[in-house]
């Protein structure tokens, strides 16, 4: 007993005062569209289709092409960074990424591609469809107004994950991150929960259980999708015989936390976004 006490005193406090602002050697890829020539090096290197190039319409002799990069499906593998012959993709150390819709996690630019050389000329960055981050933040806040904000009870649901996301979710409770000091608690039943923290590409075999869990959660239930899988189906795809895909294919999702897996800070950040305490941002 004495030993435990002295050890505890010697250890002191491990909890980090400010868990945010930390930087990773690789957060997410950032595309400099002005350098991009719309070749297909990165789209072929990407294992999840997070980077796509789509021919939209032929414009005179050129093909109007959209190139888009979505963090919703990014597994942070860095393959695109090395694959790009134009060095148009760089690395962002920022990890506290969250959004209120899938669309907000993507950036798309249009190019005129010469069908003979295959090279494209940059035109412009396209406007993302749907609400802006600020408008979406206001909408969520209005929905939870007066009910959440100082504390959040969370029921975690693994709807098909590889368990990588669970490892990082569990880490948010360790002495370094200590999410309880933010008023966030993991609870054992959806009936005690304000929010569902859902991982995985929702599998065919978990869909029913996920829906039931949602139905058992009292209003205003907030749904947070975690991980490349939860945001988009990730490596496992969408609409296969076994994987339905992103959580939003089954439930309305309020907050998306991309990453494979997202780091503990990113998950904490996303939970605080779900409480309306922080505002989601995609790029610093």
């Amino acid at each position: 007993m004495l030993g435990i006490l002295t050890k505890s005193l010697r250890t002191g406090t491990l909890t980090e005062a400010g868990p945010f602002g930390g930087q990773a050697s690789f957060g997410f890829p950032v595309m400099d569209f002005t350098r991009c020539v719309a070749c297909d090096a990165c789209t072929r290197a990407c294992p999840t289709g997070a980077i796509r190039a789509e021919a939209v319409t032929p414009v005179l002799a050129h093909v109007l092409t959209h190139v888009s990069l979505s963090y919703a499906a990014c597994i942070q593998c860095r393959a695109c960074v090395t694959a790009c012959p134009e060095q148009a993709i760089s690395v962002s150390p920022d990890i506290e990424v969250a959004a209120y819709s899938r669309d907000q996690l993507a950036r798309t630019a249009s190019f005129d591609v010469n069908p003979v050389t295959g090279r494209g000329t940059y035109r412009q960055v396209e406007l993302a469809p749907g609400l802006s981050l600020a408008d979406a933040a206001a909408q969520l806040k209005a929905r939870i107004l007066g009910r959440l904000g100082r504390s959040l009870h969370v029921r975690q649901v693994d709807a098909g994950s590889c368990n990588g996301c669970e490892l990082e979710i569990a880490a948010t409770a360790n002495p370094y991150y200590d999410l309880e000091r933010f008023g966030i608690h993991f609870v054992a039943s959806p009936r005690h929960a304000d929010a569902l923290l859902v991982t995985g590409p929702v599998t065919r075999n978990m869909e029913v259980a996920l829906r039931k869990t949602y139905e058992a959660t009292p209003e205003p239930r907030v749904v947070v999708a975690v991980g490349a899988c939860g945001c988009s189906g990730g490596l496992f795809g969408e609409g296969t015989y076994a994987a339905i895909g992103g959580v939003d294919r089954v439930l309305p999702v309020d907050v998306y936390i991309p990453g494979c897996p997202p780091r503990p800070q990113a998950i904490l950040n996303g939970l605080l976004v779900a409480m309306g305490v922080r505002e989601a941002r995609v790029n610093r």
Binding site: T11, S25, F26, V157, T203, T240
Partner: protein, 527 residues
């Protein structure tokens, strides 16, 4: 013809020339399906073989037939033996070996569910991988099954739970959504008061169609999918996949890469074992020790992050080597951090085993006897905690393990304490291994140059002793050298029956800690 092939041929009473050499360390024998039961008996009794996987493949496009494959480890000969037999699609059935080799139980039923090949004479031929709402006659891994579209839900009752009758006897259903931050699965307990009469499992809630997905991926991308078979075994599975591809494609992995792979694999073992030890403490409400273990584990994953740029060691393995070199600065940092870890871990472990309140809870529950472990074909840490001396790193050395000195800890107790002790002793061994490897890394490249394409119509086995136990990947290519079948076996698939077996006689309040002491992967099992 090698000596090993001759030994195998003699033991199985087959002509010597029929036992062929596959990739190094792999013997192949083409048999008739009707001979499986007899051969399996010979392999296990006369060659001390251990069944590590059993699966089917759809070869109808070429030979007009399905094929059934069995993967046996022959530890004494340091070689694997692959038995394969054609199966006629007009009457898709093979004689079951599950009654005498229970390790085949779930595998055979999975083959039935996903290929429609019936295990004749199976003691319990019910669905295992398919849930009740899966339609009949839809076999997902057959080549003509459209895997890229949803399947309509049917109704059915294919998983009747065993009824319990009598006064005070009732069922307790748990899951699939559990109370903690863990993976989903359904447990059904039959109890008489607190004591458990039986446990039945229903898994495959997180079946993601991984094996089918592999068949659509370029082989270079397969390694990413392999990392996500079970997130806590990212290195283990990525490495098993890489091994299979490298062996199939005759890709030489440079010695430096082999050494770095050992570093990664042992780091994965250490962080998982540490976290499990903490989780066992959590489940007996020893919170001081639990949070110390969590802090220790967090420091480990932060060290990974500093050295490799990834907390859970994802994105470190590539086909042909590793994704990034281990620089001298990283090596030194690892050495310093591991030394600090060693002292703190000893401290933590002392705290646990000296606490009577702790040992009272871990001595005895969930005992898996040596005989049961042997009969059920249990592998990895769970087997070694029950007196079975098997470890692929020593018996079928991969990467740089052949040149390293380490022992394989074995415990006899078979209970929660024994599984805890195994983890602690393995951490000790891993540290010794890391010590040797980190002293000096071979001065070679850290990745091989890859061929443009893999050989056509070839196959190979890849294996790794990961932290939980053996991970195996069997990979086959088609006419164009593209992936046509990847069979993934996580040790959890072999070990879930152990949990079912040990529960009767234990009490429900001990279930969490017993379950944790096995800590099996749902995702690795369900895929």
């Amino acid at each position: 013809m090698t000596e090993h092939a001759a030994t195998v041929a003699a033991a199985l009473h087959v002509p010597a020339h029929t036992v062929r050499e596959g990739c190094p360390g792999e013997l192949l024998l083409e048999v008739e399906a009707r001979d499986f039961p007899v051969l399996a008996d010979h392999v296990s009794h006369d060659l001390q073989g251990r069944l590590l996987s059993l699966f089917a493949s759809d070869d109808r496009a070429h030979t007009g037939q399905f094929r059934l494959h069995q993967v046996w480890s022959l530890p004494q000969l340091h070689t694997f033996l692959l038995l394969t037999a054609p199966v006629d699609p007009a009457a898709p059935a093979v004689p079951s070996i599950a009654a005498t080799h229970p390790a085949a139980n779930w595998f055979e039923r999975e083959v039935m569910d996903l290929y429609g090949v019936i295990p004749e004479g199976h003691p319990n031929p019910t669905r295992v991988a398919l849930h009740d709402d899966w339609p009949d006659n839809a076999w997902a891994l057959r080549k003509d099954f459209p895997g890229e579209q949803p399947v309509p839900r049917a109704t059915g009752d294919h998983h009747p739970f065993r009824p319990v009758t009598g006064e005070g006897v009732f069922q307790v259903p748990v899951g699939p959504v559990h109370a903690g931050i863990i993976e989903p699965g359904h447990f059904r307990f039959g109890v008489a008061g607190e004591p458990i009469l039986y446990l039945q499992l229903r898994l495959f809630y997180v079946h993601k169609g991984i094996e089918k997905r592999f068949e659509r991926l370029p082989w270079r991308h397969g390694v990413y999918l392999a990392e996500s078979i079970s997130g806590d075994t990212a290195v283990g599975h990525a490495l098993a996949y890489a091994h299979a591809i490298e062996r199939l494609g005759h890709i030489e992995v440079p010695p430096r890469a082999q050494a770095i792979r050992v570093v990664l694999l042992e780091l994965e073992r250490i962080y998982n074992h540490t976290s499990d030890i903490g989780a066992i403490a959590t489940d007996v409400a020893f919170t001081v020790a639990a949070s110390r273990a969590q802090a220790l584990r967090e420091r480990l994953v932060r060290t990974h992050d500093l050295v490799f740029g990834t907390r859970l060691l994802r994105g470190t393995i590539s086909v042909g080597g590793v994704r990034r070199d281990l620089l001298p600065s990283g090596r030194e940092l690892l050495q310093t951090r591991l030394r600090a870890f060693e002292t703190e871990f000893e401290d933590l472990f002392g705290l646990l085993v000296d606490a009577g309140t702790f040992t009272d809870r871990v001595d005895g529950p969930g005992t898996l006897t040596r005989q049961a472990a042997q009969d059920l074909g249990i592998v990895g840490i769970a087997a070694r905690a029950s007196g079975i001396d098997a470890d692929l790193r020593r018996d079928h050395p991969h990467d740089a393990f052949a040149g390293l000195q380490f022992t394989v800890p074995v415990e006899d107790g078979g209970d929660v304490r024994a599984r805890l002790m195994i983890r602690a002793r393995e951490i000790e061994q891993s540290l010794a291994i890391l010590n040797q490897v980190l002293r000096v890394l071979p001065d070679t490249p850290w990745a091989a140059t890859l061929p443009d394409a893999l050989p056509a119509r070839a196959s190979a086995l890849g294996w790794v002793e990961a932290w939980r136990g053996p991970c195996t990947h069997w990979v086959a290519t088609d006419d164009h050298g593209a992936l046509t079948r990847v069979k993934v076996t996580d040790p959890s698939s072999l070990n879930w029956p152990a949990l079912v077996h040990v529960m009767p006689g234990n009490i429900i309040p001990d279930f969490p800690v017993i379950n944790k002491s096995f800590n099996l992967s749902y995702s690795g099992n369900d895929r």
